[in-house]
């Protein structure tokens, strides 16, 4: 058996009295695309955010390539904090609300972290940023301010910003949920390219079409627990649990 690329081991997280995550285990191999689905408030975003320690779990471990991310004791030492930043630099994250930096233009959005975190020289960083902006189809928007970009363009800019750090893992938190329907396609096509390049990805999504076509595995969560997981065909066509059946029925209602 090949060693796991990313291991999520027994993660627990409580917000007040609510169990956001309960005994969550998940193994991801290199190049795998995992789509996480589930009703809102089920903990899928929280799960994603525990991977890069944006939301530190109460207990449990996240292991990337054999190394523990963050800490498993809750308290962070100075060294752990530094190594956490090193991990985060290699784990791209894309948010539902894009979170591009409005005070920087498109190019600078992609350049900034390269210079600040990876200490790359400016002209080299700019060269790379232009190349990546080109790949996500924003070549003619290089000097544009984020306020002037459409939602789809902002999200592609956010993806470019992550890609500039040469991530080995991408976390995407509902990347298309805040977009107008006609703009979803342009973001999905960028993601499809990533899949084809063999990027390891964890995607929280409601795009079942995308999940079934490009996901290697679908994980269904409800009330903080992983209820079912498996290849898209089994999960979507023959759900084993009542909860997943109910969820899929509700989703199909919206497409009527």
């Amino acid at each position: 058996m090949k060693p796991n690329f990313l291991e999520i081991i027994d993660i627990n997280k409580k917000f007040g009295n609510i169990n956001a995550l309960k005994n969550v285990f998940l193994n991801v191999s290199k190049g795998e695309v995992i789509c996480i689905i589930g009703p809102s408030g089920c903990g899928k975003s929280t799960l994603l955010r525990t991977v890069n320690w944006l939301t530190p779990p109460d207990s449990g471990k996240v292991i990337l390539k054999g190394e523990i991310i963050g800490s498993d004791t809750g308290k962070m030492t100075f060294e752990q904090n530094n190594s956490l930043n090193a991990f985060r630099a290699r784990i791209g994250m894309v948010f539902q609300q894009f979170n591009v930096w409005p005070h920087l233009n498109a190019l600078e959005n992609v350049v900034r972290a390269q210079i600040v975190v990876r200490k790359i020289m400016r002209d080299e960083a700019e060269k790379k940023a232009i190349k990546i902006l080109n790949e996500v189809g924003l070549k003619d928007k290089i000097d544009e301010w984020p306020d002037n970009l459409s939602g789809g363009q902002k999200q592609r800019l956010a993806i470019a910003r992550s890609l500039a750090m040469d991530p080995i893992l991408m976390l995407l938190d509902e990347p298309t949920s805040a977009l107008d329907p006609e703009l979803i396609g342009e973001v999905l096509s960028v993601l499809r390219n990533l899949v084809n390049e063999g990027m390891t990805m964890l995607i929280v999504t409601h795009e079942l079409g995308f999940a079934s076509r490009f996901g290697d595995k679908i994980v269904f969560m409800d009330a903080g627990e992983i209820i079912e997981s498996g290849p898209p065909n089994t999960i979507l066509k023959s759900p084993k649990t009542e909860r997943l059946k109910l969820f899929l029925e509700k989703l199909s209602l919206t497409s009527l």
Partner: protein, 220 residues
């Protein structure tokens, strides 16, 4: 007694010298207050310590709850009791700094509240932390939205420096008093003083429009 404009022209060189001191005190005091307030804002937000935040809240309510004039006297006459003897000029700057910082902290709190949490998260998720997180990502956004209230605060500071005349800082108001108590022409001298204060504040508040435009142009 008739209005004799020649007294204005006679007084003008000295008044302008005083205005220069006014500007120095105001600019230095305001810069220090911005530095102090920025530092406090960062510590407040990053560590969220109950003791520190409580202390700052106490400090702000103390500053807001007492007249600036009293604070100025306190620094000039009471600090020496504790062995800290300051000349009028540095004492004046200290008073302005400590007073203005309380207001700038509140202004920055508002500016910071307008920066979405996702901006922090996006930076952190890329491995940007600590100094760079604040300096490169969060503070620029905070200050851009805070331009109008900050410029307003600076005009307040500029006018507040007139109070420093009571501790013998030789700024515009003090010079003006010196001149009219020697030539007994307060009407002319005070009119000139009035106009100089107004012109300085007018230029400053217009600069707000300029600054806002500049950063707006960048953004849209």
């Amino acid at each position: 007694m008739k209005f004799d404009i020649s007294y204005i022209f006679d007084a003008l060189p000295r008044l302008l010298e005083g205005a220069l001191i006014t500007l120095q005190v105001a600019i230095l005091g305001f810069c220090f207050s911005i530095i102090l307030a920025t530092f406090i804002t960062i510590v407040k937000t990053s560590f969220n310590s109950r003791i520190f935040n409580g202390f700052i809240a106490f400090y702000i309510s103390f500053i807001r709850g007492t007249p600036l004039l009293v604070q100025i006297f306190l620094i000039y006459y009471v600090l020496p009791v504790f062995g800290l003897n300051l000349a009028p000029f540095p004492a004046g700057i200290l008073a302005i700094t400590l007073n203005s910082a309380a207001f700038v902290i509140e202004i920055l709190r508002g500016g910071l509240a307008s920066v979405p949490k996702g901006q922090f998260e996006a930076a952190k998720s890329l491995g940007i932390s600590g100094y760079a997180l604040w300096w490169k990502i969060i503070l620029p956004q905070t200050f851009i939205t805070s331009i109008p209230p900050l410029v307003n605060e600076f005009t307040m500071v500029l006018k507040a420096t007139a109070l420093l005349s009571v501790i013998t800082v030789v700024e515009l108001m003090r010079v003006s008093q010196q001149i009219y108590s020697a030539n007994y022409h307060p009407v002319e001298v005070l009119s000139a003083t009035f106009i100089i204060y107004f012109l300085m504040c007018f230029v400053v508040s217009r600069s707000s429009v300029f600054l806002e435009q500049r950063f707006k142009v960048k953004r849209s």
